[in-house]
Subunit: 260 residues, 2 copies
DNA sequence: AACGGCGTTGCTCATGGCGCAACGCTATGC
DNA sequence: GCATAGCGTTGCGCCATGAGCAACGCCGTT
C-alpha cells in the first residue's frame, strides 16, 4: 500500500470503508440518492453508484424504484437476526433472560454502550404486558435509562464523560439534567450494584438495571427489567433489583454474551 | 475497469463484495477466524485480515479477544434498528400494525420474501401474550407459515417454484409436505385473499396472513396476526382474516412499506 | 420543446487492493 | 525447557481494480 495510507495510521480498505459509511448515512437519513451520498463522502457520483451497486447485490440496500433513491434493505435485518439467533444458541444467554422475564412478568433487555448512547441488542417480553414494540437496535440516552446508568457507573471519569451526552436532555419532568446530580446517582449505583430509572425517559415507564461483566470484571453490557412504573413500584424494589443482579451475574464471566 | 469485469456482467466493487460476503459468513457461522474466512473466499489471509479490519472500524464485526476470532457486531443491530425506526417514522406503517395488535390482542408481524425463506422485518405485540421472543430478522420456511403462503400465493408458477424449498420439511404433524397439496391451498388463498397456518410450523401456534401490495399490485410483503392456536381458533376466523386484510390494504399502494 | 438533475455506464489510468513474506503470540507436544 | 504449528497482523512492492471524467438515457418541470 502507498505511503498515504501508512501515514493515515489505518489498515482499513478505503473502498470498503466508503461502502460501510454509506450504510451509516442511510441509517441516519432513511433514504438517499447517489448524488447526495457522493457529496457526503466527497467522491464522484459514479463511484458512489458503484459502491451502492455492491451493497444492492447483497441486499444490504434496496432501491425504491428503477434509477431511484436507496434505503437500507432486508439483508441488514437478516444479519441482525443472525446476531440475536446466536444469543439463543451459541452464547446461551436467552435461557437466562427468558427465565427472568418469566419470573418477573416484565420485559427483559440486554443493552450495550454505543458511543454516547445505549443500544438495545436483545429483548424478551414477560406476561404482564399491555403493548410492546421491539426495542432491538434502538438507541436511547445514557443519562435517563437504567441501562445507561448501569453501563456508565463503573467507567473511569474520562470514559464516563465521553459516554455522556454533552447536554443532558430533559425528556420528562423527572429526567436528571444536572451532571453533578447524575454523578451522585452513579456513585450510589456503584455502592448498591444496581440502577433504576423511574419515568426519567418516558412517562409511566420504569426500569431496573444491573451490569453484565466480562471475565476480567469489565462492564460490557447491561441487563434490565422494565415495565409500567405503576406496576414496578408496587414490587419491593430491592427484591427485584437482586433478581436482576443474580441474572446479570449468571451472564457475566466467561460467557461471551457481548464484548466491546 | 478491465475486460474481465465487463464480461462478468457486474458493476460491483470486488473488495466491497468480499467484505459483505464476510458478513454473511459470520451471520451463518456465528464466529470465524481470519484464516477460515480467507479459505472460504479463496483469498489470501492478509487480505481477509484487512477487509475484516475495515468491518471492525465501523463496528459491523467485533473481535472476541486481541488477535482472536470475529463475529458480527453491534453496528449491525444499530443499522437494523434504523430500518425499524423508519417503519415507525417515515413509512408510518407502525400506526397500522399497532392498531391491529391492539384490536386483536395478538402479535402482528410484517414479513418479506428472502430467497426461499420468509424474513420477519417488523413486529408489534398485543396484550394477550404469554411470552414473546423477538422474531425480527428471523427466517422461517415459506410452506408452513401464513406469511410464506401469503407471500408466494400470487407469484407466477416459476417464481413460486423458486421461492419454495426443494423439500417441504415436516416440522409438525400438520405441516404440508406435498407440493400438490400446497399448490391447492395456495389456490384457495388466491380466491379468498388470506392465508392461515395452524400448527404447521410450531405446535400450539397459529397465524393468519394477508398480502401487502405495492402501487402496481405486486405482493411485496405479508402482514400476519399470530398467537396460540387455542386462542385464535376461538375467534371467528373469517372476521379476523378480514381485519388483517383491511390493515394490509391500508399498508398497500403508494406507501413504501417494503419493496423488493 | 428545452432544461436541469438524476442514476448508470464506457473508458482509461494511477493508486489502492492484493499477495508474499515475515513477524509476534499462543497453544501443544515432547 | 525447546520446537513446532497455527493464528492474526504488518511491511513492502506490484499490478489489477477502484476511481474519476465524460457521456448517456430517463424523468420531471417550465
Amino acid at each position: 500500500m502507498s505511503n498515504a495510507v501508512s501515514e493515515a495510521g489505518t489498515t482499513s480498505v478505503q473502498s470498503v470503508d466508503r461502502a460501510l459509511h454509506i450504510l451509516e448515512i442511510l441509517g441516519a437519513r432513511g433514504e438517499c440518492g447517489v448524488t447526495e451520498i457522493a457529496a457526503e463522502l466527497g467522491i464522484h457520483k459514479s463511484t458512489a453508484s458503484r459502491l451502492m451497486s455492491a451493497l444492492l447485490t447483497r441486499n444490504l440496500v434496496e432501491q425504491l424504484s428503477d434509477r431511484g433513491r436507496f434505503r437500507l434493505g432486508r439483508g441488514i435485518v437478516r444479519l441482525a437476526g443472525s446476531v440475536t439467533s446466536n444469543l439463543e444458541g451459541v452464547s446461551g444467554s436467552r435461557a437466562v433472560t427468558r427465565a427472568l422475564a418469566s419470573e418477573t412478568g416484565e420485559t427483559v433487555n440486554i443493552a450495550v454502550l454505543d458511543g454516547d448512547s445505549v443500544l438495545y441488542v436483545d429483548q424478551v417480553a414477560g406476561s404482564n404486558l399491555r403493548s410492546l414494540r421491539s426495542w432491538l437496535g434502538q438507541r436511547v440516552p445514557v443519562h435517563c435509562t437504567a441501562s445507561g446508568k448501569a453501563l456508565t457507573a463503573w467507567l473511569d471519569n474520562d470514559a464516563r464523560k465521553a459516554a455522556r451526552p454533552t447536554k443532558l436532555e430533559r425528556l420528562t419532568e423527572f429526567t436528571i439534567t444536572n451532571v453533578d446530580e447524575l454523578e451522585r446517582e452513579l456513585g450510589q449505583i456503584r455502592e448498591r450494584g444496581w440502577a433504576v430509572a423511574n419515568e426519567e425517559m418516558e412517562e409511566g415507564f420504569m426500569a431496573v438495571g444491573a451490569p453484565i461483566r466480562d471475565a476480567y470484571g469489565e462492564v460490557v453490557a447491561a441487563l434490565t427489567v422494565s415495565g409500567p412504573s405503576g406496576r414496578l413500584t408496587k414490587l419491593p424494589l430491592d427484591e427485584l433489583a437482586h433478581k436482576v443482579i443474580a441474572s446479570a451475574n449468571e451472564l457475566s464471566g466467561d460467557t461471551d454474551i457481548w464484548r466491546e
